[in-house]
């Protein structure tokens, strides 16, 4: 017994090192599997508060640009309203029961391989896990963690992100992923070989999950090639959204989600 205690005392530095190193490795591995990184995230009282204070100063420098984006969006919506009496035509988002909330990005990263954003809305504003996040230009990501006043968004620039997307001109769909290389392009995988692809085609969200409605713009086709199985395309997409510069966003809640999920889980 004496020897065991002596051993611990003699090697206490190494043992503490080993313990802490293993703890951080565990946290790392956890963060690489989707929807499990519960403990270490920036959507908490302390870091959220600090980020919000700083961004409230930062925001003033972006006002001009934000105004321009808002004007452009208003312009587009007005022209839709005046010119397009039949608003259920091809450009409109598919009908459903969605409610939107606006929020502000208080922290954004895009340089690592697993990127997250932090929003200034949380459970007290009825924002919950698995709500979609978009801007007027297109998709940003999915909320994966919330606290009282803040929410963390799994960005589309995250190698663990999987979002359903499809071609605008046909109904061939695939999964939106990111290879971690450039923050301007994402990859759409599992598009069948039969799909009529050409460079410049528009990609929209597919609406096959209960998160995003169908028809939210994602980007345009930059290039495409067949994967190893020679049956599916891997499509490189230029994003409409400049992910390096995101300010105001909309959080989408699908009011029918519980019903849809209950139905899907029934079998």
């Amino acid at each position: 017994m004496q020897q065991i205690i002596n051993f611990f005392i003699r090697n206490k530095n190494f043992l503490v090192f080993l313990l802490l190193f293993l703890v951080s490795l565990a946290l790392t591995i956890q963060s690489h599997s989707y929807h499990k990184s519960k403990f270490i995230n920036s959507a908490n009282f302390l870091t959220g508060g600090i980020y919000e204070t700083v961004s409230s100063v930062d925001r003033y420098f972006e006002l001009k640009k934000e105004n321009e984006i808002l004007l452009n969006e208003n312009n587009r919506l007005k022209s839709l309203m005046f010119n397009n009496q039949d608003s259920l035509s091809r450009d409109s988002i598919s009908p459903g029961n969605y409610s939107l909330k606006q929020a502000l990005v208080i922290k954004n990263t895009y340089s690592s391989t697993n990127n997250f954003l932090t929003l200034n809305k949380g459970t007290s504003d009825n924002v919950g896990i698995d709500y979609g996040v978009i801007t007027s230009n297109g998709v940003v990501g999915i909320i994966d963690n919330v606290s009282g006043g803040y929410a963390r968004v799994l960005s589309i620039l995250n190698t663990t992100s999987r979002i359903n997307a499809q071609l605008k001109k046909s109904d061939h769909f695939g999964t939106l992923t990111w290879d971690g290389a450039s923050p301007l392009t994402v990859q759409l995988i599992d598009i069948p070989k039969q799909a009529p692809l050409s460079a410049g085609d528009t990609i929209i969200t597919g609406g096959r999950s209960a998160i995003f409605p169908k028809g939210i713009p994602v980007g345009t086709v930059k290039s495409f090639d067949l994967d190893e199985t020679e049956n599916y395309y891997t499509v490189h997409i230029n994003l409409f959204n400049d992910m390096t510069n995101v300010g105001h966003v909309y959080v989408i809640e699908n009011n029918d989600r519980e019903e849809i999920e209950a139905l899907q889980n029934e079998q």
């Binding site: 963060s31 990263t109 895009y110």
Partner: protein, 168 residues
């Protein structure tokens, strides 16, 4: 003694905040960021309690992780270089480390460059290996390690030169 504690506490908080709020928004050429919070580990008094030092390094990394949503990669890399610091100190400063007389602020510039470079490269290598977490992307890891290391080393050297006490 009290002075050292206050100094290190302020350094700890300041470095975490600067890292989270300023340096991570640099994104030079898209992805190159310096990680100068390791200055805390580099400059921590040598004679002090090693157990506490390892634990503080872990805490430092964890705080950066919470700010950056990066799981535990900064904590792992920080703990690692904190534990193996004596090895690098011995390599860089040789005899004077054995006699416990090294003051990093007053050391020769050549020795200081060796010490900072070694610590930074090892730290960044572990950091980016864990962050990318994919052996197929070894080139991306090495690329990120190389460029971020250069950035960090230059900044760390400048800061140690600027803030070193003039007294002899």
């Amino acid at each position: 003694m009290n002075n050292t504690i206050t100094q290190n506490t302020i350094r700890f908080i300041l470095l975490v905040l600067i890292q989270a709020l300023v340096l991570n928004n640099i994104n030079f050429l898209g992805y190159i960021n310096p990680y100068i919070y390791i200055l805390f580990i580099l400059l921590y008094p040598i004679q002090n309690n090693r157990l506490l030092f390892i634990f503080l390094s872990f805490l430092l990394g964890l705080f950066v992780d919470i700010f950056l949503d990066s799981g535990g990669v900064h904590a792992a890399a920080s703990v690692f270089i904190a534990y193996f610091r004596p090895l690098f100190l011995k390599f860089a400063f040789g005899m004077s480390y054995e006699h416990q007389t090294v003051k990093i602020g007053h050391s020769e510039i050549g020795q200081r460059i060796t010490y900072i470079s070694l610590m930074t490269v090892i730290h960044h290598l572990i950091l980016f290996s864990l962050e990318v977490f994919n052996s197929g992307k070894i080139l991306l890891i090495l690329n990120k390690t190389l460029f971020s290391s250069i950035f960090t080393i230059i900044l760390c050297l400048l800061i140690t030169i600027l803030f070193s006490q003039k007294s002899k």
